[in-house]
Amino acid sequence: MSKRFRAFVEKEFYHILRDRRTMLILLGMPVVQILIFGFAINMEVQNIRIAVYEPQPDVYTQDLTARVEANSYFILKETPHSIQEINERLRKGEIDMALIFPNNFHTNLVHAGKSQIQIITDSSDPNIGTISTNYLRAIIGEQQKEWMSLQQIPYEIAVTNKLHYNPEMKSAYTFVPGIMGLVLMIICAIMTSISIVREKEMGTMEVLLASPLNSATVLLSKTIPYLALSIVNLVTILLLSVYVLKVPIVGSLLLLIFVSVLFIFLSLSLGLLISTLVQTQVTAIIISGIGLMMPVLILSGMIFPINNMPNLLQWLSALVPARWYIAAIKKIMIQGLGFFAVAKEIIILIGMIVVLVILSIRNIKPRLG
């Protein structure tokens, strides 16, 4: 029994190892994704292109313009000649925001003690719109303090901010757990489902099923190489995130690996279930590729926080296995929490595995056609 089983697993390994190109991609995909997420993807708002409109330049408008120019978040673009020009450049996407001074800015502010500044932001992306407006407000506020020549504004409350768990505010802290979920899910679910359905389509499945091993064991033997491959990927991701992205593993490494292996099992059984449901590789790819990618990208909490979603979607996201995995990884890896903090996630993951395995065993047909 065990000898036959080993032979089956070996056969599966040969299949994978022979296909150099797929191997390269499977091993390279997590590396590239870690690098993109770690270095390229950034939620921080930077390089804001701003134009300043001064109908009547004076000392004050120049003060403020100079302060904006000196700020590293802003890039000062050429001075527009009219409000119309500003609108046109905003519409074409040549600038992101505009600062508009009124006439007689200095006179009004100094003598009447009162004036107005207008900020126009391209808020197509509301996040960028509000954040860049806030940056500019802060700069204006500082300049105002200087104009008022105040050391201290009365009743000022000084606020110290501390960002817990992620003091340097690195986006990588947010993304690494997400990439682990995405990569493991894609590799395990898609690979297993395709490789099993492929045998069905090619007709070799009948040969396998005619062997003395029972059908469940045959399918099990097909998942083992992908389990091995996924563990290699897991190790790569962890090494890269610790040594290249400098995201530390605060909690227990053992627990982290345990939860990850659990998730790999889950993804493998999902692939198994898909393979028992469909007949052609193309359908398997559509379901596991297009069907799984969107929910994992969007409903798993990988990029977009789940507690901001409407209730119906929060409930829907509970069905996405990656959501629980990513939540657990965040707790262990970033927050450094122990077993009891992730007990709920572990129980849910195990429950999902049980359901998927039962469903796929019920669906396996020892005969084809």
Partner: protein, 372 residues
């Protein structure tokens, strides 16, 4: 020409016969546009806050009331202990902690200034930052309330009343859905027109039917064009359904040139389909081509500015984003949908899409080999 007609007919029959593709063409855009836009929201609401009030004074009580009244925050606990609050944060009972030190009221009265500290959970950086920004705003507001109460005593300072008037253009309600809907349409077209054709040529290889095609006098050009055309039509159908769905459900319609929108889509789909066929030409098995496609599509999606701004990427990533057709297609869609751009405004990104389509269609024809 006649050969081409038959080839296209063959492709269509194959697609229509698939149990899932025809349903997906209609169902997928509707489902995606109904569900996913609601998921994308960076606006942070219902932030659970713990207040460590070591001052227990009338001032701290006023500040607490002000926070409690704000729509952003839900008061989880008022306590004396910072440690227990940190524990609450570990267990996700609270997202942010405000620490009011013991000397808060004394300092306010005597020195007219005080310190306060905020500790935010920043596992998700954007959320942590936004939460602490909101809280800071409330505190600033609180201190200016106090200032106004005693204003009669203060002399009117010069430059004191500077009013800042912000205008949020193109998306006045600051609704994330408005920003993301055009991107979702692009995402669906990319996934369907990028993945499906890549499975096509290689499937003929696996099933051996490609040898039959190779022995016929069908030219390389006709063969590839026949592969591209059906997906081109499918892409246009998806686009049209999506435009209707976003209009009916969200009331959002392209305020710019509709002609430009369709022209850009047609060119983009031609390009992305050709990219898929190039990958397919180089692969021997479905598995291989699937993973190659996934690999490239994930990269072009992540580096397109769909979810995160291109302007905050490092230079090397911006270079990739610039040669990435998806960046330009999303830009075109957003400019047309939100900023009512006309055809003439969009000539530059349109040019990049044309270049991309020409290169990849040429490559697709050249890389297809009739003899092995």
């Amino acid at each position: 020409m006649k050969t081409l007609k038959y080839l296209v007919e063959k492709e269509f029959k194959q697609i229509w016969r698939n149990p899932i593709i025809p349903k997906m063409i209609v169902g997928y855009p509707i489902l995606v546009l109904l569900i996913f836009p609601w998921a994308i929201n960076f606006e942070v609401k219902n932030i659970k806050i713990n207040i460590v009030d070591q001052s227990r004074s009338s001032y701290s009580q006023r500040l607490i009331n002000k926070i409690d009244a704000s729509a952003y925050f839900i008061l989880n606990d008022i306590t004396d202990s910072y440690e227990s609050s940190l524990q609450d944060m570990d267990n996700a009972h609270c997202d942010i902690i405000l620490v009011i030190p013991p000397s808060f009221d004394k300092n306010l009265v005597k020195e007219q200034k005080a310190d306060i500290s905020i500790v935010a959970n920043a596992v998700n950086t954007t959320q942590g930052l936004l939460g602490s920004n909101y809280l800071t705003e409330i505190i600033t507001d609180f201190s200016s309330d106090l200032r106004y109460e005693i204003q009669p005593i203060l002399k009117v300072q010069r430059a004191q009343n500077l009013e800042i008037v912000p205008r949020y253009r193109y998306n006045e309600t600051l609704d994330y859905k408005v920003f993301m809907l055009p991107a979702f349409i692009v995402l669906m077209i990319t996934l369907i027109c990028g993945i499906l054709p890549s499975l096509n040529v290689v499937l003929e290889k696996e099933l051996g039917t490609i040898h039959q095609i190779n022995t016929t006098p069908v030219s390389k050009f006709n063969f590839i064009v026949a592969k591209v055309i059906p997906y081109w039509i499918i892409g246009i159908i998806i686009l049209t359904i999506s435009i209707f769905v976003t209009w009916i459900i969200y009331g959002l319609y392209p305020s710019g040139s509709m002609v430009a929108l369709y022209v850009a889509s047609i060119i983009f789909i031609l390009g992305i389909t050709a990219l898929a066929i190039v990958i397919s030409n180089y692969s021997d098995t479905l598995q291989q081509s699937m993973f190659l496609v996934m690999f490239f599509i994930l990269i072009i999606i992540l580096l397109s500015g769909m979810f995160t701004p291109v302007s905050s990427m490092p230079v090397w990533a911006q270079v990739i984003a610039y040669v990435n057709p998806l960046t330009h297609f999303i830009e075109i869609m957003r400019l047309i949908y939100l900023k009512s751009n006309s055809f003439v405004d969009l000539l530059r990104p349109m040019g990049v899409l044309i270049l991309f389509a020409l290169i990849f269609n040429g490559w697709a024809v050249v890389s297809y080999r009739k003899s092995s």
